[in-house]
């Protein structure tokens, strides 16, 4: 959506790109992502921060974009599901979700992956109860929770192995 004259506009850094968006600062980040920027990987599920389908990273932390006002995140670093892989290469968490078959309808999957990425940033080897606590705000109505837990742990191992290999190569 083009910026019109006289409109304040909001500048957003998303997945390394800077966007000038013609939106009221009160608009939710989710609406801006989906409607203004056509970044539809983040999903609407409840509009009240209860289901986690809209989860994105803001300055590295998992946040519910449906209850985040876009005016509050100007100048912050926003990462969405579209921004975590590199080219055709999947992020280890994405790969682990595939390896564990951790989805059915997969509508929750973007939000689950973003929460898991945020968790693994602060805890590189989470125990099952730590995953449950951290991801309690993400709903999978199809009920694939046990697979998601396994996927997060698998991703943690993949990432640790990568870090160790990098360390060894140094």
């Amino acid at each position: 959506m083009a910026t019109s004259i006289g409109s304040p506009g909001v500048s957003l850094s998303i997945n390394g790109n800077v966007y000038l968006v013609d939106a009221d600062p009160q608009t939710s980040l989710l609406t801006v992502l989906r409607e203004h920027l056509d970044l539809t990987g983040s999903k609407y599920g409840c509009g009240e921060g209860q289901c986690g389908a809209c989860t994105v990273l803001i300055d590295g932390k998992a946040q519910r974009s449906c209850i985040t006002r876009v005016g509050a995140v100007a100048n912050k670093k926003i990462i969405t599901i579209e921004g975590i892989g590199s080219g055709d290469r999947l992020h280890p968490v994405q790969q682990a979700f595939l390896d564990e078959g951790a989805m059915q309808c997969a509508y929750c999957t973007s939000g689950m992956i973003m929460s898991a990425v945020a968790l693994l940033r602060i805890n590189s080897a989470p125990q099952e109860n730590e995953i449950i606590d951290f991801m309690e705000g993400n709903i999978c109505r199809c009920g694939t929770y046990s697979r998601i837990i396994r996927a997060v742990q698998r991703a943690a191992k993949m990432m640790s192995a990568y870090v160790a290999a990098k360390g060894a190569a140094r």
Binding site: G41, K43, Q50, C105, Y107, R147
Partner: protein
């Protein structure tokens, strides 16, 4: 139009799902077909009745006219790519994968070479809908037959080319090979310049399950990459150029009619306002503008007083459906003589079980994008019945069905809750007025309020049993919740089983497993009560009254995995229970281990063991996934899910108010699969759910001595 869009299209799934399919009328002729598809081979599967009329014609369809009643078809193109067309849809049950496996198996091509076109009313054959766990027993089999016939066509083409005996040629890895002549040809090469149409032969031998190489394996989810990268476009993600966003003004209460309306402010906001009878909606360049305009509309509604969930069960008992004779025999099953058997039983037990209304809560709410082109309408929407929604649209706008195309992108779940086309009609009505494409995505509150619910019910059970544990009499009355799974699989000589339709306090319809969940809850809870009354072990008591070998097998397998015989009965606060049954051609036994803290009231389901049998398994890992998911979803309805309502309003229509299972509710899930390669494959999306609630209720009784007979069992916990 407005009456149509707002009227409560009451679904009676128990009967509705048994309706015979209307024949599909194919509009293309042969030449148009190949113009659309490109050269190659097309194989059709034709409905049995239609095939019978064509017997004399042989297998080859030589004229330009195509058979009228096709239920699946497949095309192999000049590039060797296989495209399969089916009216079934993907809502997370993973049939895009399992159907692809079936085709890959019979046609001997890699899964990557196969694409499924699903649920597009213009391209795919008519299909009643994706429900009732019918995809695996019917469509999977149909596609296997179609693929098998296609393989024969390819073999015959190669045989003709080589002047070889087709009997000696082998199809494998996308090639036809002549082992004797040591030559082979790829499918793609055989397709060059071909325009062959083939009708499915009456009988073609299929590859037996014991010899499956692709089917029967845990093939990874087709398009999995699209889902983990967020690239897949669900219905709510659809976008076309020039599209606006729609919002509908909702009445204050169910069944309300509009008394007065003032749209003056909204009219001046640069949006399109539609007022058509009771339908009031807005289309605008953005959702924010549409919401603002709807908020600016002043409306006054009038509604009749309506019952609340507090008087729900009384209401169901006292309000039989109009025109229904409760003594009639439309929904009843009688066997032997119940009354004398009951009178002469050593023990008699009478109990009542209740089930509340619950919501499906598919994580993706209803969504539709509608686009008019003159009098022709195209709608992208998430529905289990694209052809049903096409009919609803045609009726709502009084246009021929041929002018309506409904497409169903793989959708964010349904669980039986997306049979209807409300959102499609709303988007189409707004798009017609706005003269541009319009998308309507329901909010969570709208999905909670204006969709439909799993029927609540009251179930009375009276039974007679001998001292030795033989059940001699069984009387079972279900009010409103439905007749799916109402019959008992226990061997009881005297039975009276009746379904009593009632007036419906809320709009109700299909939900995964339909009434089988309620009926199994009542039956399997009652079995547990009877076992205690005659002081028998609940497993032993069931097996004593059960002859069905397949059902006995799952009970025994689950008991073994659970360690039923060695369970520690001395642990304070811990309890163990079971439930099981037969539904949608599958067999399940579910055992649960619960912990109840009577001080805090916390009830935790610690472990659930399921044994499941559905014939020859098509995809073991996906089957496990479905069973695990059924247990988790079933646990919500068993423990805490319930819709609260009053006077035509939903009181807890948000996720902050309506609790669904979360990570912390997850039990340890253990699944035993019984793979019967000698039996036809059947569905698994529903049956595994029916044992969970009674297993938990029986385990809670075992832990506490408290018998809970109303679902949800412990919405507020279970304090001493």
């Amino acid at each position: 139009m407005s009456e149509k869009s707002n009227s409560q299209v009451v679904l009676e799934p128990e009967r509705y799902e048994l309706t015979a399919p209307a024949p599909y009328h194919f509009d293309l002729d042969r030449r148009e077909f190949f113009k659309f598809l490109g050269a190659g081979v097309v194989v059709f599967s034709v409905l049995k009745t239609a095939a019978a009329g064509q017997e004399s014609g042989g297998r080859q369809w030589r004229g330009d006219a195509l058979p009228k009643e096709i239920d699946a078809w497949l095309h192999i193109g000049e590039n060797g790519k296989v495209t399969v067309y089916t009216g079934k849809v993907e809502v997370g049950q993973n049939i895009r994968t399992s159907l692809t496996q079936a085709v890959a198996e019979e046609l001997s091509v890699p899964m990557d070479n196969i694409e499924l076109i699903m649920g597009d009313t213009q391209l795919t054959p008519f299909d009643m809908g994706t429900f009732g766990s019918r995809t695996t027993p019917t469509m999977n089999l149909q596609l296997r037959k179609v693929a098998s016939a296609a393989r024969d066509v390819l073999i015959n083409l190669a045989a003709a080319q080589w002047k070889a005996d087709p009997q000696h040629l082998v199809a494998a890895d996308g090639k036809i090979t002549d082992p004797a002549g040591k030559r082979s040809v790829e499918y793609a090469a055989l397709m060059k310049g071909q325009q062959l149409t083939e009708m499915l032969p009456a009988q073609d031998p299929l590859i037996p399950a014991a010899d499956w190489k692709v089917a029967g394996t845990s093939a990874a989810k087709v398009d999995g990459h699209e889902f983990v990268t967020g690239k897949h476009r669900y219905p709510s993600d659809q976008k076309v150029p020039g599209m606006w966003y729609g919002k509908v003004l909702r009445p204050e209460a169910f069944g309300a009619t509009l008394v007065s309306l003032d749209t003056q402010k909204a009219d001046q906001m640069g949006v399109t306002v539609v007022h058509d009878g009771n339908f009031v909606g807005v289309a605008a360049p953005s959702t924010a503008q549409a919401e603002a305009a709807v908020a600016a509309i002043q409306a006054e509604w009038k509604a009749e007083p309506q019952p609340s969930n507090k008087e729900l069960f009384d209401y169901l008992r006292k309000n039989p459906a109009e025109g229904h004779d409760p003594t009639g025999d439309g929904d009843r099953y009688d066997r032997g003589s119940v009354d004398p058997a009951m009178a002469s039983a050593d023990h008699k037990l009478q109990q009542t079980y209740k089930v509340s209304y619950i919501a499906h809560v598919p994580l993706e709410p209803r969504a539709a994008l509608a686009k008019w082109d003159g009098d022709s309408l195209t709608v992208w929407t998430g529905t289990q019945r694209p052809f049903g929604v096409r009919g609803q649209l045609a009726e709502a706008f009084r246009i021929p069905e041929e002018h309506v195309r409904v497409l169903m992108p793989d959708t964010g779940a349904a669980y039986g809750g997306k049979h209807t086309g409300e959102t499609a009609i709303e988007a189409a009505r707004l798009a017609r007025a706005a003269k541009r494409p319009v998308k309507v995505v329901w909010t969570r509150e709208e999905e909670f309020t204006w969709a439909y619910f799993r029927p609540a019910g009251v179930i009375d059970v009276v039974s007679g049993v001998r001292n030795d544990g033989t059940i001699t009499a069984w009387e079972f009355h279900n009010y409103n919740s439905g007749s799916a799974g109402i019959r008992t699989y226990y061997d009881i000589p005297n039975q009276r089983i009746v379904f009593h339709p009632t007036k419906m306090p809320l709009r109700q319809g299909s939900y995964r497993a339909l009434a089988a969940t309620a009926n199994h809850f009542a039956r399997e809870s009652h079995m547990d009560e009877l076992a205690h009354q005659v002081k028998m072990d609940p497993l032993e008591f069931r097996l004593k009254n059960l002859k069905d070998e397949r059902l006995r097998a799952v009970f025994q397998a689950a008991a073994k995995q659970f360690g039923w015989g060695n369970r520690d009965k001395t642990l304070d606060g811990w309890g163990f229970g079971m439930g099981g049954g037969y539904e949608k051609l599958g067999y399940v036994a579910t055992f649960a281990e619960v912990h109840v803290d009577r001080k805090s009231g916390d009830v935790k389901v610690a472990r659930v063991v399921s044994a499941f049998e559905c014939g020859a398994i098509v995809n073991p890992d996906n089957l496990r996934n479905q069973i695990e998911g059924s247990n988790v979803q079933g646990l919500g309805g068993a423990l805490f899910e319930a819709i609260a309502f009053e006077n035509g309003k939903i009181l807890n229509g948000r996720l902050s108010e309506y609790r669904v299972p979360r990570f912390s509710d997850l039990p340890v899930l253990q699944t035993v699969l019984i793979d019967r390669k000698d039996l036809p494959s059947v569905g698994a999306g529903e049956c595994p759910m029916v044992g969970v609630a009674p297993a938990i209720a029986n385990a809670i009784f075992d832990a506490t001595g408290v018998r809970l007979r109303s679902m949800p069992l412990v919405p507020e916990g279970l304090k001493a």
